[in-house]
């Protein structure tokens, strides 16, 4: 049952961090709405958020393959060389004692980025083509919770520090996987900044309402 709530959405909003009741703002693109009491960024509408999210997520889905399958960095010491992939970093830790760390690295650098981009693709795709799906709201919840566990930019910093440490003892080579990884990292960052949460929820709610009226 869809309960209509006249008090909501048209008149008021509440700040998620201090619960202040605020008159619903109607910001235009480029505006930033902050909570007057705690300063929380309440809304920041983005230009064509759904279209941009859709296209960025397609680019991300393509880039995931080279970023995961091509070697990122390699070293050469006294004729012996090794190559590193995202997944070989996980496998290197996957020993009898270190498997919990290996799982954390796997989740934060491979699985969560993949799921995050996949969810962006599914949600923005459904909204773009105006298709209703009963999982839309839960996908959106999942994507919001997953956001801080996608740690590609932290991983990049890890690569930089590792390279600095290795510089003294070995010759470092950069592979195509690294460039794909950097592109993927930029796409993920843009996905986060282009996402207009309020618009997405508004559209999801609207699709859901229409769906209920039809059936």
């Amino acid at each position: 049952m869809f309960v209509t709530n006249d008090l909501n959405s048209t008149n008021y909003d509440a700040c998620p961090e201090c619960d202040l009741l605020i008159n619903h703002a109607h910001p235009t693109i480029g505006d930033k709405v902050h909570c007057p009491r705690c300063g929380f960024l309440l809304a920041r509408p983005r230009k064509q958020s759904i279209e941009h999210t859709f296209s960025l997520s397609i680019a991300g889905l393509i880039l995931i393959f080279p970023a995961n399958l091509l070697p990122m960095i390699g070293i050469e010491v006294m004729g012996e060389s090794t190559n590193g992939l995202l997944f070989s970093g996980v496998m290197a830790l996957f020993s009898k004692t270190m498997w919990p760390v290996a799982i954390v690295v796997f989740l934060a650098s491979i699985l969560f980025p993949l799921v995050h981009i996949l969810l962006s693709f599914l949600i923005s795709g459904h909204l773009y083509f105006n298709r209703s799906c009963r999982y839309l709201a839960s996908w959106m919840c999942w994507m919001q919770h997953l956001d801080e566990w996608v740690m590609l930019e932290v991983y990049m910093l890890g690569i930089i520090v590792a390279c600095v440490k290795l510089m003294a003892m070995a010759e470092i080579k950069f592979g195509w996987g690294l460039y794909a990884f950097i592109a993927l990292l930029i796409i993920t960052g843009m996905l986060t900044s282009k996402l207009d949460t309020e618009l997405f929820w508004h559209r999801i709610g609207k699709l859901r309402k229409e769906h209920y009226h039809e059936s």
Binding site: L7, L20, I75, L93, W201
Partner: protein, 205 residues
């Protein structure tokens, strides 16, 4: 509308996930827009945050005492703690990188542990504080947490690359597990803390 009135005082609950406002009088348990469970405040926020925080504090000790990785060169093993790795970077004239690692692996976790404890204490004892400033502190804590994973990722890359048999090999040490646990536990602690409680305990809002 009177200034500074909260949604809860007006009999409204904001959905945590989608921001929809629901009247408490409607007695709904789930959000009509996104089906998430409705709570006026995060349930058991203080209990959960302190549980994660105390576990994090305890694990911070082994994370710093035990070696985080061992470097074997020509059969001679040399264990490094987190601090040892930073000192080594300073010795090899990599001061900016050393500072980066110092901030990400020592200062950030420490700042998070202290900051979250202060936040918990202030809510528990209803300290009258500048809530706006403390909310900013909460935001910083929630934002910087993930950057501490830097050390863990660096180790996974080093262990993978430096695997040259007898010439050179890097092995992850027991502190890596403790350190990863500290980072994740403090991230959970920050996620379970409800900053609205800071505002609720202020008497003259």
């Amino acid at each position: 509308m009177k200034a500074n009135i909260t949604a809860l005082k007006q009999g409204l609950i904001r959905c945590h996930d989608c921001g929809w406002l629901v009247k408490i009088a409607d007695k709904l348990s789930h959000c009509p827009r996104c089906d998430s469970q409705l709570h006026a405040r995060l349930p058991y926020s203080l209990q959960r945050t302190s549980a994660f925080l105390i576990s994090g504090m305890l694990l911070y000790i082994p994370a710093n005492v035990f070696p985080i990785m061992t470097v074997n060169q020509f059969g001679v093993g040399e264990p490094h703690t987190i601090v040892g790795g930073i000192i080594e970077l300073i010795d090899s004239k990599m001061v900016p990188i050393a500072l980066l690692v110092l901030v990400a692996s020592i200062l950030v976790p420490l700042f998070k542990l202290i900051g979250l404890s202060l936040l918990l204490l202030s809510v528990h004892f209803r300290w009258q504080i500048n809530a706006r400033l403390w909310t900013v502190m909460y935001r910083i804590i929630a934002f910087v947490g993930r950057w501490s994973m830097l050390d863990i990722f660096m180790i996974s890359i080093l262990v993978d690359l430096v695997n040259l048999g007898g010439v050179a090999q890097i092995i992850a040490g027991p502190a890596a597990i403790a350190f990863a646990a500290v980072v994740i536990l403090t991230m959970f602690a920050a996620k379970n803390f409800d900053p609205r409680l800071l505002w609720d305990s202020q008497e003259n809002q």
